[in-house]
Amino acid sequence: MRHIECDSEKCVGCLACMTACIDQHCADPLQSTVSARIMLKRADGGAGYITTSCRHCSGAPCAEACPTGALFVQTDMVQVQREKCVGCRACERVCLFAVPRFDISGIIVKCDLCTHGPAGVFEPSCVNICPSGALLMV
């Protein structure tokens, strides 16, 4: 299914994709929140950068685990409907990529390929902002 790949050879670790994701999704500019993108640092402390986000797995285990239907498969992506999330974190337990993140009110934040947001549907904001060309929608 569609998802965003990060080329660690190109990524410069500038974190622009992280904030662009927040700006796309967070309606209230005064609110603290989390980005659906994740900056991974190498466990051995080595230099180098890579950011990740949802793989949009086919047969998504998170959607199956979700008791409220907040996560569901929609044509070629795993969609998220935050209003339905009750913060049970069942998805977090089954996701192999540690993707689901939770904002300050405990509600899921996950990549929706920028299909939601206060300004509407956009080309994925992370891809759009990335200065190094590391991010691609595949």
Partner: protein, 695 residues
Amino acid sequence: MSNSCGGLERKTAICGLCGKSCLMNAYMKNGRLIKVEGNRSLPHASGHLCSKGAAYRQYLYHPDRLLYPMRRVGVRGEGKFERISWDEALNEISQRLLKSRCEHGAEQTVFFAGHPKWFRPQLAELADKFGTPNYGSESSTCAYSVRMACRSCFGTDVSMIRPDFVHCRTLVIWGVNRAYSDSVSGTVSFLRAVESGKNIIVIDPRITPEAQRATLHLRPFPGTDGALAMAIANVMISEELYDREFVEQYTIGFEEYKQHVQSFSPERAEKICGVPAPDIERAARMMCIERPTSMQLSASPVVHNVNGFHNCRAVLLLNALTGCYGVKGGVMSPIASKATLKGTFAGPAADRRQAERDLSHSLYPAWAALLPSEAQLSRLAEFIGGGGDYPVRNLVGFGLNHHMWPRPDLLEKAFDQLKLLVNVDLFMTDTCRYCDILLPASVSLEREQIEILGGDTVYYQPRVVDTSGEAKSDIEIIFSLARCLGFGIGSPEMSSHDDYLRMMLEPTGLSLDELRAAPGGLLKSRQKSMEKSTEEIRSVKTPSGKIEFISTTLTQCGVSPLPEWRDYRKELPMEEYPFILATGTRLPQLFHSRTYRMPWLAELEKIDKVEIHPKDASVLGIAQGEPVRLSTPFGSVELWADLRGECLPGVVNVYHGSESKDINYLLDAGYLDPVSGFPGFKSYCCKIERLGDAQ
């Protein structure tokens, strides 16, 4: 430019959050900004923003924004204020300043410019017309030592000009992490240079994104750049790689410099800097053989050392040896420029009248000779505390932030001595809490802006959002304050932001009205192309008219005219505090003190951290994420340890500017470069202990 689709309006804008000019799309709904992204429609737009620019919405609508002029009602530092009107505020400030001038003289008032920088020429004029030579800026600790060094060698500020990414064959990036600190177009130009296969030499203790893409990465210990540069010069000269013809024709003092660098063999430099001798040789060869060679030198890291000025001179003089000065692909590349704006920070700065009466004049004679446009104010706390030739009664700041100096506590104490402390700012900062009167400034999207795009197109950006509260553009505040003080700024005198824009446009031959009416706010400048020839660039404005290995001005000022080498590690208590402490190492989400208050950025990771190499950490038994105590001779702070392979072993890195855990409290206020007055931010000493082990 604006266009609407589906209730959304898209406007183009200039970000300016960090003082750079990245172009953005601002999506608006009912007059409110609801999303930003990089712009792709304007000429030469990079199409991207950085992490800070992407959080612009939180910056604009932040609850800490100052919205009204205010007067302090509590004690200094407490943060209690009452709202007053603009008239009341400006009258009170001007009455008090005029009375003080009448009773004690104008020089007891200091005007200070922090960040941003665009209005500085007009603030300098305000100070000058008020009659005080004591106008200074945050450049007392950033960039101006580089500028001094440039002027002492080349008579002009070489470092302000972008390297010629396109035409160079070799690109030297000396201490710059542009992906985290430059405009996005700077990052993109660099990445293009990498793609096009240039030789890239990066000199940086850390493994930065640039360093990862380098052909050759030299990792000197902080503060040893001078020894490294002189060793590179040594190789260039001993292997006869340098441009002999250029040196003969355009420079003076080469024979002395040749003698001077003889003792800096690559092997000796390896011992001082930690850079392998063969790499030093390779760098020298690449810079001279694979020409043209361009260089980018950062505004701060090299000069944030007690020998920083001399180190910087040594680095700059490499450009005289390669002979790539004033050629395409070199430094000061003759690139045609068809549009310039008047009265901007990038333009020439006016000299002050009575500069010799400023507070720093006798302390820093080389600064005084090379930078007549402002005073060196890195010892501001000392001056206010009564340590200058005369007292300081009033301090009027635009973006003044006392956390930028080593030992901010000294300023917190000194502020009590002031009769009047005024700050114009965007946010209720820690410094604002000490002020008598606060004036609210507008952010970039709240004012009309003009920029040159791609060398010849003038871009006018109308106001994108309504101004928050009663905030005003800094320039309007300067004009109104001048009026209240009994004079005007500019000739003809300017009284509004419009007047200011008209003045800026003068060289372009465009009128503000036609620019405003132009589609997208875009018009080509009518200025004639001003391409300087190589010969013109090479007839430099030093006292000798030549590029000076031996500086005439420095000789006159009693400063060593050749780059000296001095090892700070021999002067610091490194036995007890064995790590080199480099502060201010860039993190992409922070811009000095400005973005700490923005959770979208500040919460991307916990930023109260010290970065340390995993090897150093393992010797100390410190694991990733563990709390540690960092101590210097001036105190200690608890931080968490971020084990980063980017760090040079033996060097730890801490970001600056935090109000809650400011590393500057732990620095030595007297640890300054005697020539430039710059603090040794990048090379102090500290020890690190696991919190459990610390006493």
